[in-house]
Symmetry: C2
Subunit: 226 residues, 2 copies
DNA sequence: TAAAAATTGCATAAATTTTATACTAATGTT
DNA sequence: AACATTAGTATAAAATTTATGCAATTTTTA
């Protein structure tokens, strides 16, 4: 009875989402070993004995990116016996929302961003995991302005609306969106405006570090040390 | 590296909730072995190699109860290194909503229902898991009438309101509740009334087997074979 | 058998939230 | 100076939610 469990392995996988070039993109790694050698996959790893699951997910994330300001939430645990072709691997999946301008990864042939609407063939059940993380992100967005985790630190309302439209997958009315956005708790109106654009300057906004109305969320806040 | 994972164990634990005697109650088992020998715990077990996680949770549930008509949803995976005193056990927790009148368990000194508002001292982090399942149930109830999984098959609107009030932890206005309840998709008005009560008879209602607006839900429907 | 107690069942007005809709303002470019 | 482009704004209608009071049916009991 006990031995039955000994052959299980458990991993964490992390769906890392950002908005780049007006697309929701996910960070993928190319597998260098079997199974699924050469296929793209979401980053993952084993859980160390001293780590809790959040720490393990955060470590996996930090192995691939150098970001401080992230939203990280446990997504779901996937454990179909056939999800791994030659072992029983249960994975506790997380998803992270990161800001493009906080990112410093160097795309290589083995690591890169992919549009979630145009994914390559993926290893394991990773496509399902990504789809599910998008669904969860939409659900979160209906409860709290979690999209600000995907925006630059200072942003215009138009940029915010674009992020919402990308995540929700539909276009929104500008006037109603702005009215609602301005009523959002934690939104700060700055006395700054966009400059370099060749159009009318837009006011910039920011979010204070608010307690989001999230259910399972963990926030790793940026250390403001400068 | 690989060996590091070999010492992890993974289990499923199931929070089984019902409404009995106008209280939300949870099914607990008394541990017969160390650790936490003699303490109450939620039912759990190892995952078999051939099972997916839902199947494992369902099996654990069926080992304790004989119910057909249940709501079962993955809750969260708990993996703090210290949650188990002398091993690294990660548990994928589920919660189930079952109908009191579908239940046939025989309470023994080792198995019994406990009011969630008056829990005994529990093993591991099981108190946290139960609290979290209550929170999730409240969240679900705001999205879909999942409470009908806790009601008898035929129920009065007053009974339905009582269930909502118990779960949400607040009293609701009768007139507004009835208006909203009557507008709920899937609610069927029966041509039957309560009898044995010593007051004015109340109309009975039922729910058709609807697709609930749930996110991670799995329904094990009753087999109507009679 | 009449009154009382308990619970069912219903309707409407007020407040709030959501939705729908069109024009003016500011800036750089030509 | 006219044009192109994006920023920015107000209001009415519709829908939803909340608040509130009273009549009807049945059993109990006086």
């Amino acid at each position: 009875m006990f031995n039955v469990t000994k052959t299980h392995e458990i991993t964490v996988d992390v769906v890392i989402l950002t908005i780049k070039n007006n697309n929701i993109q996910v960070l993928l790694v190319k597998r260098t070993t079997e199974p699924f050698k050469g296929r793209w996959a979401i980053p993952g790893g084993y859980i160390r004995l001293s780590e809790n699951l959040d720490d393990a997910a955060l470590r996996v994330l930090k192995e691939k990116t150098e970001v401080d300001n992230i939203y990280l939430e446990q997504l779901y645990t996937f454990g179909d016996p056939l999800r791994h072709p030659n072992a029983r691997v249960i994975t506790c999946a997380y998803f992270a929302l990161v800001r493009d301008d906080d990112l410093s990864i160097t795309s290589t042939p083995e690591l890169g961003w992919h549009k979630v609407n145009d994914l390559p063939s993926l290893a394991y059940d990773h496509k399902e995991i990504i789809q599910y993380s998008l669904k969860r992100t939409r659900e979160r967005l209906e409860l709290c302005p979690v999209a600000y985790q995907l925006l630059p630190e200072k942003f215009t309302l138009t940029e915010m609306q674009k992020a919402y439209e990308l995540i929700m997958g539909k276009s929104l009315d500008k006037r109603n969106f702005r009215k609602k956005a301005l009523a959002t708790e934690g939104l700060i109106e700055l006395e700054e405006y966009t400059k370099s654009s060749s159009k009318r300057p837009a006011r910039l906004y920011a979010f204070e570090n608010i307690e989001l109305n999230s259910k399972r969320a963990h926030f790793i806040k940026k250390e403001k040390n400068k």
